[in-house]
Every structure is written in C-alpha cells, then in structure tokens.
Symmetry: C2
Subunit: 451 residues, 2 copies
C-alpha cells in the first residue's frame, strides 16, 4: 500500500493542532453554558426534502446510498448529510416540541458537510458551533441581542484576534428595495449578496437582469449597501436616500435597537453594515456576519428566521448565530499564530529499568493518574538516555525514575532531579496540561496539516 494522499476540502489536524481545537471548543462550550444554552446534537442526516426546502444550497448536498442498497428496506433512502445546524435544529424542535420547554435555548457543536469546490476558508467538512433560541408563536427582539452577546463573549474568551459582528436587517433591505420600486425584492437581495464576490458593477447588472430594477433603482440599492456605522448614525443616512416603506421603517427600528443595546453591553463589537445579506433564504429580520480584522472572510454569522419551522397552526420563530470553528482554525493555523506547548497530554513518563520492573512502573503511573497527573509508562526498557529522548521528542516535561531507595523525578528541561513520592508529588499547574498560546506569528501559512 502506498502513502495515502489528503482529500481536498476535508481538513485533518495534527495532534498538537487537535489539542488547540479541543481547547477552543471547550472554551466556546463553557461560554454558551454560562449563557444558559443547553447542549444538543442532532443526527448527521436529514431527509432530502427537508434539506431542499432552502434556496441555493441544493447543489452542495451529499446524498447517501447504501453500497448494497436493499429495495426491501427503504428506511434509509433519500437521506443527505446536513449542510448547516439550523435546518436540523428546526426539524428537531418540531419533532420533539412536546418534550421541550419554550423559549428553548440550545447550543450545538458538530460537523456539517457541503460539496462545494474547496478554496481558502471553504471546506467540504467543517465544524460549526451554533446557538439558537426558538419560541412558540412569537420571539421578542431582545433574543436577537442575546445570541450575539453570547457569541461575542465566546469569541472574546479565545486566544484569537478580536472579531466584529457586522449586522443588518432583511426588512431594511426588502422594504427599501420595495420602496424604491424594484419588482423582485428577494432577487435583489440575492444579487446584493454577491457584492463581495463580483463587485458593484456586476451587481448593478444583476439587479437589472434578475430583479427587474431600472439602472437608477440599481444605483439606489447599491447606495444602501454602502452605509455602515458603529452607532445609530446609519438611520439618518438611510433616510437621506429618500425612500419610504412601512417594512423599511420596521427594519430600521429593529436594527437600531440591536445596535444600540449591543453598543451598551459590548461597545465596538457590533456594527451596522447595510451590505450584509447572508446567503441563506430563511432569514427574515436581523442578520449577522462575524469577521476577523485583516480578512474579508466571514468566520460565522446568523440571524432571525421567523418561518423556518411550523406545524399545523403553530409557528416556531428563532434566532441564532454560528461560529465556523474549522474556518477560524484554518485561518489561524495557516498564519501560524496558534499553538500548543506539546502534542500529547502526558506530563510524566515513568521510566522502566528492565521489563521485570514494568508492573511496578504501571502501579506508579496509576498512583499519579489517580491524582490527576497525565502519565505514560515508557514503552521500552532501553537505556535511560533513550527513554528521556522519548519524553523530549514529545515535549513531556518530567521523567520519573523508580528507585530501590525511593523514586526521583527529573525536569528534563532544566535537568533538575529531586526525590519524589507518587502519592504526594505535584507538578507546577502550568506543566500539568498542554498550554495553548497565540503568538504574533507569520503570514506565510506554514501551519496546517491539510487545511
């Protein structure tokens, strides 16, 4: 068998990188729990008809087929891998509504899959960390603030550069497009969503071709998208464009409330940006996009979806936000700015003088583990120099030497060796587990395994 090649778009980390990823996920999870979001996981698959209810994603779905499909058992035909965590969550809420307490707040940290062409920051398999709140019938606007405060708190607890949340409101755009006289406001939204990718001139063409706009109307739509502000000044700038519409008024009031409240709790983090559209069709109000300074890449986003889930007469409006963990890590590993102090959890290696002494070494390791100290027993009874090299290659800071007149432990970085009792010895807190640090790093992108 030859050495396997990486699969494009399916990133895998090296052990030290996985330690960083775990630390990040643990921290995000802890913050979400501090904000009262309950943990949840959904299955990886959904019926295709569920996945296809949303626009512009059908081409990206991975469909499943059993290798030896069985016509007599169609129970797992027509399934696809989920492409986000919002659609499965909406389905979960409907399915289990009778056993959930509303408003229902959950977080969900899971992989998702999209068959997109891989490129920088775009993966076919990626880890997402989502929070959402859903309620029955109506969901007050303060939940829109809730989720972005929790996400901002989660991100600011990480050893990563500060992230800003660009925010907009679908009602502002749709109301404005309608007020300005564009024939097909949803088509206009899809056109403006491509602003980053294709630029204003081609968006203007698209507005004319697909949304039935006149060139003057297209210019007005683009003028709206140029408005951005960290405070309420955006309201007057929209008004100055001279467009009136009741939905626009409603959207401006909502957006102003979100920007104002967030400015009070996390100043400078949430910025109104009227060019933000978000690709998915299910958003109906507030939308968010999380950006890291120095990159145009979004590392997350979300928004309000009032119509994603309903059963009979009952509607379940929701609002949520999603952090793209894989994209965040790919970016930071690529810049070489995040690292773990060692690629193993092990703090102590117990040396083995000869194979007959292995049982005693295992007992020493057991005693250290019971006291919470990650410990390995040397895999060979080679000469001590070789065993120390085993520890050194892995960044294991301590080697334990059993002795007839009492044990000793050596800090292999300083060379200091002292008598020690496995029932009492404790390493400094900073050595117990690998330490994850952010450094200034380079921009050359030498970090990732196969990002």
């Amino acid at each position: 068998m030859t050495r396997p090649a990486p699969l494009s778009g399916f990133p895998e980390w090296l052990p030290a990188q996985r330690i960083v990823e775990q630390r990040i996920v643990d921290s995000v999870r802890r913050t979400f729990e501090l904000h009262g979001f309950t943990p949840l996981e959904t299955r990886a698959v959904e019926p295709l008809d569920q996945l296809l209810r949303q626009g512009e994603t059908s081409k990206e779905i991975y469909v499943l087929r059993r290798l030896q499909a069985d016509a007599a058992d169609p129970s797992d035909s027509g399934l696809g891998l989920h492409f986000d965590l919002t659609v499965p969550f909406a389905r979960y809420v409907l399915e289990h509504a009778g056993r959930l307490a509303f408003p229902f707040r959950r977080y969900q940290i899971q992989k998702a899959w999209r068959g997109e062409r891989p490129q920088e920051g775009r993966y076919r398999e990626f880890l997402q960390a989502d929070i959402d709140v859903v309620d029955r019938d109506t969901l007050p606007l303060h939940h829109d603030v809730d989720v972005v405060l929790a996400a901002a708190d989660a991100l600011s607890s990480l050893p990563v550069p500060a992230v800003t949340a660009r925010t907009n409101n679908r009602k502002v755009c749709e109301g404005f497009y309608r007020g300005v006289g564009v024939k097909d406001p949803p088509a206009a939204l899809r056109a403006v969503d491509k602003l980053d990718k294709i630029g204003p001139d081609r968006v203007a063409d698209l507005l004319v071709e697909t949304a039935g706009a006149t060139p003057a109307q297209a210019r007005a739509c683009l003028a709206l998208g140029e408005i951005a502000a960290p405070d309420l000044s955006f309201v007057d700038r929209v008004r100055a464009l001279g467009v009136t519409d009741p939905l626009l008024d409603e959207g401006l009031a909502e957006l102003a409330a979100v920007v104002e409240t967030c400015g009070e709790h996390v100043p400078g983090t949430v910025v109104a940006d009227l060019s933000i559209a978000r690709g998915l069709d299910y958003y109906t109000g507030t939308v968010y996009e999380l950006r890291m300074p120095g990159t145009a890449l979004s590392i997350g986003g979300g928004g309000r979806y009032d119509n994603l889930a309903s059963a009979g007469d009952v509607r379940y409006p929701g609002v949520g936000i999603s952090i793209g963990i894989t994209r965040l890590l790919g970016l930071l590993f690529g810049r070489g700015v995040l690292s773990a102090s060692r690629p193993v959890p092990t703090c102590v290696l117990v040396a083995v003088a000869d194979e007959r002494a292995r049982p005693a070494a295992v007992r020493t390791a057991t005693a250290l583990r019971r006291r919470g100290i990650p410990t390995e027993v040397s895999p060979t009874a080679a000469r001590y120099g070789k065993q120390i090299r085993y520890a050194d290659r892995r960044g294991i800071p301590y080697v334990w030497f059993p002795g007839e007149d009492g044990d000793e432990v050596k800090d292999i970085r300083s060379g200091e060796q002292v008598p020690a009792d496995p029932q009492a010895w404790t390493p400094p807190a900073g050595d117990l587990h690998p330490v994850v640090t952010a450094t200034a790093g380079d921009a050359a992108g030498t970090g990732g395994a196969d990002a």
Copy 2:
C-alpha cells in the same frame, strides 16, 4: 408542515440525556488523557477502496454522492462514511507518518455509520470512543495490556454498572483449528463468531460446510469455545483437548501474559473467553469484547492488528479498544438508570421587573457569568410568579431579583430568599452544574428519546 417522524437507527437524545452523554464523554476523554493518549479526529469519509479492504462490512457502507455531481470535478466521488475509527486511524498514520512520533498513542471520540438493519443496541449512526497504540515494525505485547487497562479505568470512572473485558487471541483459535486439521482456519473463525447468534448446532454445520471440517473436528472447535476462566486455568483446559501447533503455543503464551498482567492491575475485570472471535478480519492476536453484566450485548471491543497499515517496507502494527458510547447510553437510558438533575446548564434566572430594567438584568447576568455561574435573563417581564415558573419548569434552582435597595436571590426549592451581591454570591457547588446520577431504575425501557 407536519410533525417529522424519527429515523430508525439514528438516535437523538433529549437535552437532559445529552447532558448525560456529554458528562460521560468528558469523563472518558479525561481518563484517556490521564493515560497519555493524545486527541485526534479524522474526517468522516474515506475512499471506498480503503473501506472495502476489510471483510464482511461492504454491505454496511454509506456511499456519498453530490446531489448535482460534477463530472469535471471527481475529487469527492468514490467516498464513503467510515464504519469504525480504526480503519481511518490506520490511514491517518500512513498519511502523516513523517510528522508523528512512534509509538503513537491516540484517542478518538467520533460518530461512525453503518447501514445495518436497526435493532436493539444496533444503530446506523453511533458514537465511539477509541484508543489505539501503533508503532513502526513491531509493537510489544505490553501495549495489549495498556489499552485494556485504560478502557477499564475509563469505564470504572463512569456512573454505569461494572464492565468485564472478555479476551481471546486469534492465534489460539487459528493455531488450534490448524492443529486439529480444519482446512480453512479463517472460515472456521468466521463460523465460530456466529455462536451467539445461531447457536452451537448451526455453527457445527457451518464449520463442516464452509471451513472443510469433519464433524469430529467441528466438535473440537466448539469445545475450545466453551473454555472461559478469570485466571490461567484456561491454559491447561486447552492443553487437555490434545491439540498441538506452534501458533497455538504462541497464542496461549500471549493470552496467558495478558490475563495474568491484567489480573494484577485490575483483578476480576479481564477474563479469558475462548469463544470471543470479533467480526472484523483485521485482528491478528489479542481480541477484547466489553460486556455489561446482565446483557449479552457487547458495548465495545478491540484487539491487535499487525497488518492493517503498511507503506512500502514499513509495517505499522497496532492494538486498540473501542467503547460504544451510543450503545452504552441506549441501554442505560432504556432502563431509565441514568439521569441529569436538570435539562439546562442554567443555575440562576435573573428576573426582569419591566422591559426598561432588561439592560440592568443583563449586566447582573454578565457579572454572575464572569464568576463562572451559568445564568439566564428572564425572557419576559411577566409577573414574578410566572418568571419563577419558567425557572421551575427547567429545574433552574435560583431566581435573582434586582432591587433598588439591593438585590435578593431565592432558592425556589426551599423558598428561602436572601440579600445577594452579583460580585460576591456563590451557589453551593452541587447546584452550579447539572448533576448526573445513576439510579436502580426500572427494566421497562422508558428512557430514550428515539433510541
């Protein structure tokens, strides 16, 4: 839209059950790290040719296809979801060998998928917790002991009934079958593996039909499978069957060493059982099966695989063990013996007198969260009785009342209400997070959501 129906074989937990699952996974992970296993994740997909190298599994594989497959980009065609974590790990080792330090110890806690017909304890999507050690060229036998000690330690740290590891050695079986004169020892192994499912009479028939055994040889094979012992007495009982073969000798020596060493470190946990075969073809020596008392269901297993991975002249022998988290939880939830004290992480609900007071309530919540106390702000400014009911329905133990003359906090279980400062108040440690407990429970199976 109507209420969605569950998908058979794809279990999903309710929030309180997910809290239990997380606690179990955290505990297993902590134990694996204490034993010096480094965290790892592999992508969910492998090339089909990798997945099909192993026997008897081809029918179970889910193959992926993009909904709008693109002939111009075949980079993600021919992929399937992994059916275990061992095959992906072997591939990972080959792919990244140049950047790993050997022997390489890793743990991996991930979902796997098999298109099998769902039944009790058998899922199409399930969570596995694996540990493995691989080395280059050779891997000493003491690693076989290593992995079962770590797994036993992980399981004994959980609030679940004690698990035993039944152990055997493929060399014992193959050597015995060869020594007894059976024409096709691997076929005999596959036949004996069905003992639990089809019983001794039909296994005897299979041995004759598929392995070329005479009826007397078949009886000898079955006699071997009847031997089980918690100590070394199994060696004499095998010898008493009068079969000799060099591979049998080698296997007996290995099995005796494993049973003896485990008996020293975890007495009563590892038992020799010569009926254990394990379905997967890749095992070459020690095999393990983890069983919970009172059920014939295996909740995990593993073994030695000397030939799973090789590149050019370099071979990477390994040994590992896998705990079936989903199967374990399905079993225990079904019996109603594992539960969490509340279905939310929240410890404190901050009450809101009217909507104008919400910003102050958010600031109080922020202060409590900064001190590690999971806190929600009441979603409505309804009368306090209703806000207390919100907490009560979710098992949130404390409600916080902001007041002009100082705040108060109420333990809604006892009704006791005391003055409190968000910068200083701390709940009892037992109230801070949900508590997971094991109870005697019932056997009626009322627990699971859709197990």
